[in-house]
Symmetry: C2
Subunit: 348 residues, 2 copies
């Protein structure tokens, strides 16, 4: 099926060294999983920037968000027995936990959809408050009327939930709190109401029974959500056997809502597939990809910070052209073009 | 602190043999965790009845809910290599999973709050549909105006979430779907609006970072929920170190909202404690029990299906008298009386 995706010849479009760290003492480890939108005739990308602390000899250094929203670095003596590094993602020191990398969201702009740069007045969205003290990640951007809805993964000692920020001008941002409690991520809001309700896709995880499935929820006001229904489960023995999650907002087509989603198998290989949801009742799944519509086959998709990963949560649509932007190997940002009709054909 | 609780001399009030199984071939294994409410001058209990299949020689038999809502029994030959009993809670047979017990909710009535019996027209609420095929459990009942809101644990292969049923007459029930996706339980709705919103407590669980904490959510309409905030976490080294969850709806007092909650430690010993929440802003925790207000000390609380457990999600309030009903050792139903003032004193 790999002929469905036409990769950009300039891939990767962005790598960690293309951006500057957000504070002294930090290094950008990875660029990941951008939300993408059009605004004032340009293409914008809200990219996840994962930073680690620059290491000092004899210390293990971790980035922390201070209460005032500043990034600091804490240096822990490697010889200190209170330092526990047994989990590579989370460091324990005495009774406190620290992530080895901390993510913020950074706005990048493009005239042509290929070359992205930081606008003169840089926009950096950091974690704020008690539900984001370990950073914010993997933002989906949905425009409804004149408002942009940013749904992102909020990470803190309270757990991993879904936060909402709204903006109309990309200058003033309104924090709307957690719309979904832990453990949840991969949340994408539909771009228009269906009947009386707004809809979103999300991905709760289960500690007992259940799994990492895609769910649908509905809302009267985009802040309060209910009537949660599971619309897609992992499929044993297939490419999406271990974990699935929504990409960006579904694309409205004459055949129904087309959703590009990621699926991983037991070896943590992430591919992309498609779901087609009923136009009037998106809880009704009309079709689903048997095989991936895109697999990690390019060198930059197979090798990197975490190899064999392609993950998308942002795209643009121009007629039949679906241009997805994706994180490759959890390290660099790429794009690939699809024909929407060809994806729909592959689902028949 | 055990002098706070005055146990009923008739404890246990109800045991599995007091009720009849809901269908042929079933046996009642446990009575658990009743929701409690007043209606038409009587005290009602919506008790969780956990049933297992009567076992046949040479088979392992499991209860199942058929699509039409009937209870059936499936007999699996013990010699069949496709039978996997390694998890005592969940049986695997080929690619299907079965719970060893399946719970429904049954309505019991009392004139005096001590002796409960099934009303002449029995009311049994069973799991229905794809989110309840493994049964429904641990229902909280909240009355707002003339409507009763039943929040319960919905168990299915899709995961463990929170379902909502409403009724005004306890004859006609309206299924309102899942108000919270997996993994979540212990959901209790406040009995009145605060400002513009309704509120509820709930207990999501985390697969990575976070834990089993009590969260608060708000809603404009009791069906759609947002602004999730964590109001109480487990406390390392204390009686509530491993897992905490709300009991019934908070009691409105002049000092604030008084919530009786359960906490378990690493040895799975379940005690009860109290939280006092700000009257106008229940996200603000004013006080919390250092020590339990009730511990499993009676013989029927220490020995049974799962010993050393007291768990409440139902009570009645008469002036200063708080009568909690609780499941003891996950097997029998008991009650104990508290003075609300004495609990508030213990929090000072």
């Amino acid at each position: 099926m790999s002929q469905l995706a036409v990769r950009n010849n300039d891939n990767p479009l962005l790598k960690p060294s293309d951006l500057r760290p957000s504070a002294e003492g930090l290094e950008i480890e990875c660029l990941l999983n951008p939300g993408v939108f059009q605004f004032n005739g340009k293409t914008y990308m809200l990219v996840r920037v994962a930073e680690k602390a620059r290491q000092r000899e004899g210390y293990f250094s971790v980035p922390v968000l201070s209460g005032s929203g500043r990034m600091d670095v804490i240096d822990i003596p490697l010889s200190d027995p209170a330092l526990d590094r047994s989990d590579p993602r989370v460091i324990r020191y005495h009774d406190d936990y620290y992530l080895t990398t901390l993510s913020h969201l950074r706005l990048l702009c493009s005239d042509d959809g290929h070359r992205f740069f930081e606008p003169p007045e840089s926009v950096i969205l950091r974690g704020e408050g008690p539900y984001e003290s370990y950073g914010i990640e993997d933002c989906r951007v949905t425009q409804i009327d004149h408002t942009f809805y940013l749904t992102y993964t909020a990470v803190s000692p309270n757990g991993v939930g879904v936060g909402l920020i709204t903006t109309v001008d990309w200058k003033v941002f309104r924090r709307e709190g957690l719309t979904l409690p832990p453990h949840n991520k991969d949340c994408a809001i539909f771009e228009r109401q269906i009947g009386q309700h707004y809809y979103m896709l999300h991905r709760p995880s289960s500690i007992f029974i259940g799994g990492n499935y895609i769910w649908l929820a509905e809302s009267p006001d985009l802040r309060h959500w209910g009537n949660h229904r599971c619309i897609a489960r992992t499929r044993s023995g297939k490419w999406d056997s271990e974990r699935i999650g929504a990409g960006a907002a579904p694309v409205f087509t004459s055949a129904g809502w087309l959703e590009i989603y990621h699926g991983a198998d037991e070896s943590q290989r992430y591919c992309l597939g498609a779901l087609l949801l009923d136009k009037d009742n998106p809880a009704n799944v009309i079709a689903r990809s048997d095989d991936p519509i895109m697999e990690p086959t390019a060198p930059y998709e197979q090798t990197g910070f975490f190899g064999n990963v392609i993950f998308t949560n942002g795209h643009t649509v121009h007629g039949d052209l679906l241009r997805i932007y994706y994180g490759a190997s959890d390290e660099v940002i790429c794009s690939a073009d699809f024909s929407i009709d060809a994806i729909l054909d592959s689902l028949r």
